[in-house]
Each structure stands twice: as structure tokens, then as C-alpha cells.
Amino acid sequence: MFHRESGYFKTTYAADGGLYPLPIAKWTVLCLLTLFVALPVLTTSLLGAGSAEYYVSIVNLILIAVVGALGLNILVGYTGQISIGHAGFMSVGAYTAANLAVKFDLPFWLTLPAGGLMAAAIGIIVGIPSLRIKGLYLAIATLAAQLIIEWIINHTPAISGGSQASIEVARPTVFGYPLKTQRELYYFLLFFAVLAIVGTLNLVRSRIGRAFVAIRDQDIAAEIIGINIFRYKLTAFAISSFYAGVTGVLYTYYLGIANYENFLITTSIDYLAMIIIGGLGSVLGSILGAVFVTLLPIVIRLTMENFGTLLFTTAELNNIIPAMRLGIFGLLIIVFLVLEPEGLNRLWRNIRNYFRVWPFSY
């Protein structure tokens, strides 16, 4: 059953680059999709409504993170431009949508793309220096962008909505039906996560995606073979920040509040960690990374709450858990960079290849 490629021969480039390389892939995708659509119903019947609500809320966080990680991976993994300002773009999206939703009473299907587009516009401005500078300098420029965006939002009451720099937003309404519970929000978020995944898959195998990879691998050579580097770098920034903006809007609708504290520089680093742990330049890697990084603090908290009491008091635990989260996080980033630079995606491929040729070694 592992020899699923046998017997299928590709004779055209179109077949080689297809979204479903094998017929079985269609069935896999269909099965996964059914599973995901049925997830809230399944968990409710298995665990009861209360705990289903909690588990689905975790999945919701993962779905939001998937969108952001995909966006960052387009920029960092595929185009080779570093950005430490991803959370800044998210906050641009979040506050744009929140302001539009509260002040003009617009529905989510207008505020969501508006947030994305606004973030894309800011992303293009931040991306402009990328023609002259790269590597470290670009990283620092995006870091500056993040800090400047944070400061502007915090110091402009017209954007941030006065005290606490937060704006409350009503939950999204679909066809006049407001989404209130986590299980209803789940479908809302799932829709956009799937959209982002399919969009990225199609983007990276298109002309634009190939240009991105060429710029990442050898920018000067790419320019010589006729790729307009400046235009494609800015496109990468625009697309990536569009995703980031949408992520910010999704967070806003999910939490019911736009607050800049959700988009500080640590969030940028969380997302960088997602794509590094997951695997740079891979769609599956972004998803795996988003799952991993979102689950990690939850797992740490659960472990510490259950076993930490043996060593520490409860008051100490409250200080230790965030510190441990940060420490383990940094450690994982370094371990993956040093030992497995291609991330979880590569580990998954290794496992798959092992079973594909099993019981032989090659």
C-alpha cells in the first residue's frame, strides 16, 4: 500500500506540476477535508459540548496561525527576504478592520480584504528598501518598521481607539446569522485557512512563485535571466503582508477585540519560529510549524500544572511557565537550525520515504 506512485507516468509538464500529483492525493485531500468539516460535531459527540468548545478553540488558534505562517513563509522561505516585522503588518490589518467595522458598521467580507490590502500597502512601503539592502540590513529595517508601526498605533487615538489601545468588534455575521461559539467560528476560520493553503500552493507553482525561488537562490542570476527583481520582491512583500493583515483581522474577529498587545515583536518571533521549525519554503512545513508552535505553550502549561507542583509552589509556577515557554522556544529554534534546517517538513518526508521503500533501504 505504500507503493502508491507505481504505474502512474507523467508525460506532460502540466501533469508534473499538478496540484494533485497522484489520483490518491485527491482522495486524501477529500478525506482530510471531511474530517475537518466534521471535527466540531465529532468532538461534541465524543467529549460533550463543554470540553469540545475548549479543544475547538485550540484548533481555531492553529487555523489563524496557519494563515500567518504561510504568508511569512512566502516572504522568508520562498523569496529569501527576512522580516522581523510580520506582527506589525498583522496589527495594521487588525486595526483597519476594527475601525471599519466599528465606525462604518461594515460586514466582515468587506473589512477582511480591506485589512489585508491596507497591510499589503504598508508592506510594499516597508519592502522598498529591499532593493538596496538585504540580509541583516533588511532584517533590521523590518524590525524598525515593526517598532514604528507599534508606536504610531499606540500614539494615535484615531487609530487605536483611545484608552488601552483596543477596539471591541462584534463577532462576524454570515447571512444574518452571528457566529458566537467556538464551533461556529471554527468554520469561519477553516474557510480562510483552506483558502490560504490552496492560494499558496497555487502561487508557489506559478510563474510568480518560480520567480520568488529564483530570487532567493541567486538574485543576481535571476536578474540576468530577465526577472524584474524589484517588482517581484515588492510583490512578495505585498502578498506576505496581505496574508499577515488577514491574520490580524481573523485574530480580531476571533477574540472580539483589536489589541496591539497581541501583535508585539514576540509575535513576529513566534511566526518566524513556526516557519523555521516547520520548514522554510514549504506549505506543509508552515502548517506543521503553526500546529507545533501553537500547541507548545499549551503542552508546557499542562505539564507544569500537573507535575510542576512537585517542585514549585503555585505562585512560583506563574512566573516560571512563561519563562519556560520562552526558553524552550529559543532552544527549539536553535536545535532545528543546527540539526535539521529543513524542519518538521523534512522529518515527515524522511519518515514517508522510509516506509515507501520499506522493507528495502533504497
Binding site: I82, P129, L136, A141, G330, V338
Partner: protein, 296 residues
């Protein structure tokens, strides 16, 4: 225009700026010798401050012993770091090195307070608290000491790189690793040496900044000030670190003095980054930086 006020701001800016250059120096040395980027510079300073505070406040040892422990601790820490984390990353894309130091920063920020405790401790330099009046300037002794330490190191490292045998070897390593190796220079040893030197600078930076701000996790925020300083001055220039530090120090003080009343505070943290973005657009390699020319 109130000149007394302006002079006061500039005088403070100069002193703070020199203290920034002390931190920036650690960054510049590492970059100059190894082409590696240390995004954890601020966390290095924090670690040194925590170490010295643990010695001086918790164990009640004399001030100088605390400083020596901080220096030794930081040197061995950076040695180990170079060996365990950065050496395997040699020759890998720049994203990898940047991310590794960001990861390191996260570890230090997480573990630092876990080991040394989260409360703010104060260490005091043995220089007294009486402000020094010098014409129109009023100077804080802590800042003066910090600036003097910075000047001493800046002079020392300039001499080291220009005149001493090791410094010349290190410049050769920075310029072209393969040629340096061919000429019989042990490149790896100089990488370790560069990190050790950065460790010494961060240790003293940690003690001075810790004495000024009080020792807790927030000391690490100085790391964010390093980037405007080195970008303005040029990433691989010691003189650049001084000039960048002075510019950032003076600009942020003037901004805090004159713009804060207009916009309601916070320009101090904001102005250096605006300045830096402008610098990146106009002159990306800084005032004294070496322009890299790429050939196909």
C-alpha cells in the same frame, strides 16, 4: 530658545550615546571578525548585569569581584556559544544566523529571570550620586563612568585592530577567511577570540547599564538601541559605533526634550528608528561602513 536646556540635553545625549557605543562595540567586533550577527546583544548585557547583581547584591561580595565574575562568566559563555551554536552554522544563509541569535535571545530572556529571580535589583558603582556641575552641563556620575569606560574600550580596540599583531590577523580573517587561513592564521581561534572580546564588552556594559537602570529583564531592551547605532555608524567600524552612538544619544534626548510635549511622550524610543530608516534609504552601509561590492 532656552540654551541652558538644550546644552543639558546635548550633554546627557553625549554621555548616553557613549554608553550605547559600548554596547554597539560588542556587536561591531563580532560582525567585523566573523560576519555573524548577534541579535542577542541586549540579552548578553542583561545576563552580565544579572550575574554581577547576583554576586554583589545576593552574595554580598565586593563590587570588583562582581565585575570580575561577570567578565569571566560572559567570556566563557560566549566561547561556548561560538562552539556549540555558531560554528555549525558557518557558511549557512544569513537567515539561519539571525534566527539562531533570536532564539538565543529568547532562551536568555526566559532563563535569566528563572535562575536569578524576576525582581529588580540595584547595584551601585563606587562613584557616589552627587551630580557634577560643569558650566552649563549637569552630569550624573554613573553616566560619566559609563562614558569613560566606553571611551577606554573604544580607544583600546582601535589600537588593538590597527597596531597589535592579533588585531591585524583578525582584520585579515574578517576580510577574507580563506586567504587568511592560507596565510597560516588559525581562523577558528580568531572567531572564538572575537566572541570573547564581545563578552568582555557586554560584561562591562551590563554592569554600567545595570547600575543606571536597575537590574532586571528590561535591561535587554538596550539591545534594540544597538541597531540604529550600528546602522548609522556602519556595521564594521569602531569609529562608526562611537559616531552612531553620539548621534542616537543626542537625537533621542533632543526629541524627548522638544517633541515629547507636542505629541505626548515616547518619542525617545521612536526617533532613532526613523533616523535609521532614513539612513538605510540614503546610505545603507552607514557613515563609516565598508561598501560591499557584489560581482557575478
Amino acid at each position: 530658545m532656552d540654551w541652558q536646556f538644550t546644552f543639558l540635553l546635548i550633554g546627557n545625549g553625549v554621555l548616553i550615546g557613549l554608553m550605547y557605543s559600548l554596547i554597539a562595540l560588542g556587536f561591531v567586533i563580532v560582525y567585523k571578525a566573523t560576519d555573524a550577527i548577534n541579535f542577542a546583544q541586549g540579552e548578553f548585557v542583561m545576563l552580565a548585569a544579572l550575574l554581577s547583581a547576583a554576586m554583589i547584591v545576593l552574595m554580598e561580595l565586593p563590587f570588583w569581584i562582581g565585575v570580575i565574575v561577570a567578565v569571566i562568566g560572559m567570556v566563557s559563555f560566549s566561547f561556548g556559544l561560538e562552539r556549540v551554536v555558531l560554528r555549525p552554522l558557518l557558511g549557512r544563509p544569513i537567515v539561519a544566523v539571525i534566527m539562531a541569535t533570536i532564539g538565543l535571545a529568547a532562551i536568555l530572556r526566559g532563563l535569566g529571570p528563572m535562575i536569578f529571580g524576576a525582581e529588580t535589583r540595584s547595584i551601585s558603582l563606587p562613584v557616589g550620586d552627587e551630580p557634577i556641575y560643569l558650566g552649563p552641563f549637569i552630569l550624573q556620575p554613573v553616566q560619566v563612568t559609563g562614558a569613560l569606560v566606553a571611551l577606554f574600550f573604544l580607544g583600546g580596540f582601535t589600537w588593538f585592530f590597527l597596531k597589535s599583531r592579533m588585531g591585524v590577523a583578525m582584520r585579515a580573517v574578517a576580510d577574507n577567511q580563506q586567504v587568511a587561513q592560507a596565510m597560516g592564521i588559525n581562523v577558528e581561534r580568531y572567531f572564538a577570540l572575537a566572541w570573547a572580546m564581545a563578552g568582555i564588552v557586554s560584561a562591562l556594559g551590563g554592569v554600567v547599564w545595570g547600575a543606571m537602570l536597575g537590574v532586571d529583564v528590561h535591561v535587554a531592551l538596550i539591545g534594540l538601541k544597538v541597531f540604529p547605532v550600528v546602522i548609522l555608524g556602519g556595521l564594521d567600524s569602531i569609529v562608526g559605533a562611537v559616531v552612531g552612538g553620539l548621534i542616537v544619544g543626542i537625537v533621542e534626548n533632543l526629541a524627548a526634550g522638544y517633541l515629547d510635549p507636542l505629541v505626548g511622550g515616547g518619542t525617545k524610543d521612536f526617533a532613532p528608528y526613523v533616523l535609521m530608516i532614513i539612513a538605510l534609504m540614503v546610505r545603507p552601509y552607514g557613515i563609516f561602513g565598508k561598501r560591499k561590492i557584489e560581482r557575478v
